[in-house]
Amino acid sequence: METFPVLIKKNLAVFEGVKTVEYVVEMLNIRKEFGNFVANDNITLQLKKGEIHALLGENGAGKSTLMNVLFGLYQPEGGEIRVRGKKVDITNPNIANDLGIGMVHQHFMLVENFSVTENIILGSEPTKLGVTNKKDAAQKVQALSEQYGLNVDPYAIIEDISVGMQQRVEILKTLYRGAEILIFDEPTASLTPQEIIELTQIMKRLVAEGKSIILITHKLKEIMDISDRVTVIRKGEGIGTVVTSETNPSELASLMVGRQVEFTTEKGPAFPKDEVLDIHNLVVEDYRGVEKVKNLNLNVRKGEIVGIAGIDGNGQSELIEAITGLRKVKSGTIRINEKDVTGLKPRKVTESGVGHIPQDRHKHGLVLDFPIGHNIALQTYYKSPISKNGIIDYDKINEKAKQVIADFDVRTQGPHEPARALSGGNQQKAIIGREVDRDPDLLIAALPTRGLDVGAIEFIHSRLIEQRDNGKAVLLISFELDEVMNVSDRIAVIHDGEIVDIVTPETTTEQELGLLMAGHKNGAGVKGVDKEGEDQHVE
């Protein structure tokens, strides 16, 4: 542990020697307060021309605040910002734009039924004789797209193109407006692995063409892959800046969290007992009447974690919704503790001993405008001891909330804070706390660590394993192979609505799983291919 400060000093020393380096953006000793809360304390970030500079920190560490200061959305209480050596006062985003700073937001700001070009020119439409001149704009978009290898069709409609493509439109938008400094806010959060590779290439191309990039992220792998330097912040404080090639993921994780972090969760062998969940010949349709789950069979026993590995859209969502009563079952049966729960209402399923960490925490998991305390009571508000004869005792809710907040390390100002105000990681911890605290026999965890940092992921994984060790059944759905491999005792691979194979993490490889997920049924044949042609399948 003593080695961190030394390491930082060593790396900082490297830069003190080279004063001549030209910085395009310097944020020096930035301080930002919200009331009594200090979101940024003495943070320094210096961006060199032509580099990819990662800004690393846990959820809620103050990364977004710092970038909003740079983008003119917040005014700092202390420190100064220099752009190309000159001190600047960025009081609103227009000034940031004029200084050539562009932001690619995590949640895209696009009009769904407009074309790519229309979205890009929105707000500064070029006109010819008073009529919007889309043709010239489209040509300019085309040219930019080719220059940076973005491969975007200027006439495509946003809702028709993939998420990765929509992100490129966001990038084009900043380039079209003459951005020289691009801020990427968690750009890979909603991308598929293939799209992430493409984005990496695009970012490298942008830098090669002379742009400078700040990459906000908490994914260590990305940082190691593409960044030149990393500035780490922890709980609002600037920890330091290190050169990527001189560090490693575990050092970065320690800097970020402030303690040693384990990447693979420790877990002993499983001792599975009676069956808790038994799914037999399940068929589920989506809202259009297309069969998304086809004759699926699966069981989960007490004391084991079954991971469902698969590519997004292969029936995982429909499967979970069918189990939890949120979606109608076309045929087949679902039993929990030997009781038939097929077609029961969500509350009845919940009361049969099911906990559900939903895939989309904003849509299903939380009532964002409710205080976090209400959210923690979302499954139990109607039951004793919280309610008696339809009257809620809010003191009991807050009591419960305080206990869950403490047990699950939810960082919040208290039960009265709106759920919306919490960072993503803490929102997720609150949901997991709510579900695990009810001690369900079956815990369904759908993408439980999506968008979370290593510290939170470690915490959540250990909680899932703890449930298992307490003799409960856990069904984990994940798109991340690492997660499935690390946490599960058995892995069921889903493809096109069917479980194509069930394997154990000890006897399989990521390559084999990858092939199974792609629909190559029959493990034996796959393994043969796997051994010989490993390189072709690993990126």
């Binding site: 209402k345 409710f370 339809g390």
Partner: protein, 349 residues
Amino acid sequence: MSNRATNILVPLISVILGLLVGAIIMLVSGYNPIRGYTALWNGIFGDLYTIGETLRQITPYLLAGLAVAFAFRSGLFNIGVEGQLIVGWFAAAYVGVAVELPKIIHLPLAILAAAVAGALWGFVPGLLKAKFRVHEVIVTIMMNYIALHVTNALIKTVSGGGDRTELIFTSASLRSEFLQNLTEFSRLHYGILLALVMVGVMWLILEKTTLGFELKAVGFNQNASEYAGMNVNKNIILAMVISGAFAGMAGAMEALGTFEYVSSKGGFTGIGFDGIAVALLGMNTPIGVIFGATLFGSLKYGALNMPNEAQIPMEIVEIVIAVIIFFVASGYVIRLFLLRAANKKKEVK
């Protein structure tokens, strides 16, 4: 600037600005604003009689405001308060006229009839929304017209071809000798107390019951509510039924208190529509509705005195009143200006 200071300053500045702009309007139309506002003041607080009448005017606004606010809190826009009020008015008057019973039974029965009629009128759009996802705004607007003309037809039948019913039996009346004596024989009736009790009822439902918890959850996020095992459709229907019951009771105030009869109407009463503004001014909270209803009721009633005492034509009066309410509703804008001013000050420092 502290939060508390802005909370007091904002409504104050809003009202002052509204009065100023209203004064300018009177000035350019050639009337004396000081006389105009004196007349308005006297029309609201002039003597015990006007105070009584002002309170009477506030009563239906309270209930109409509650009706709109309650639906809003459950994520529904009940534009049909007007129609629910009209059927409530008729139902209460009908029960008041049709039978004579001991007061202890008759009066509650008449009020209950109004609440049930309003609830029924709210149930239909609630059901259509829950079952078929038909937007409640469309249905409630249409239900308003149906209410207006159906009650007119019923009044004709009940009164044997006339355009108003008999006076209700005193056993169904909300009128109060005590309150009338207190206020120099205004029409102030016990309804104001009932309306205030209903403010408490709404607060209790929303803040103390599991039903209120569910209604608010559904209002904010239907997906999460469904995930949490709440019956979203049931809550939508219940919200509209309860909202309609409040609106129906607003009608009972007119039927059993102010007029003691129901007459056929050429158009809407406007109370239901003003209830939307009352609810929004009160930020959809029960306590806020008291504030909104007081403002609306006072201005509406006080304004009637402006043509008499200051000879300002009713058209100008209505513009002035609208301007004042407009400025109060624009409190957000004023808040923004105050914030900017505060920020500038900080920068100068």
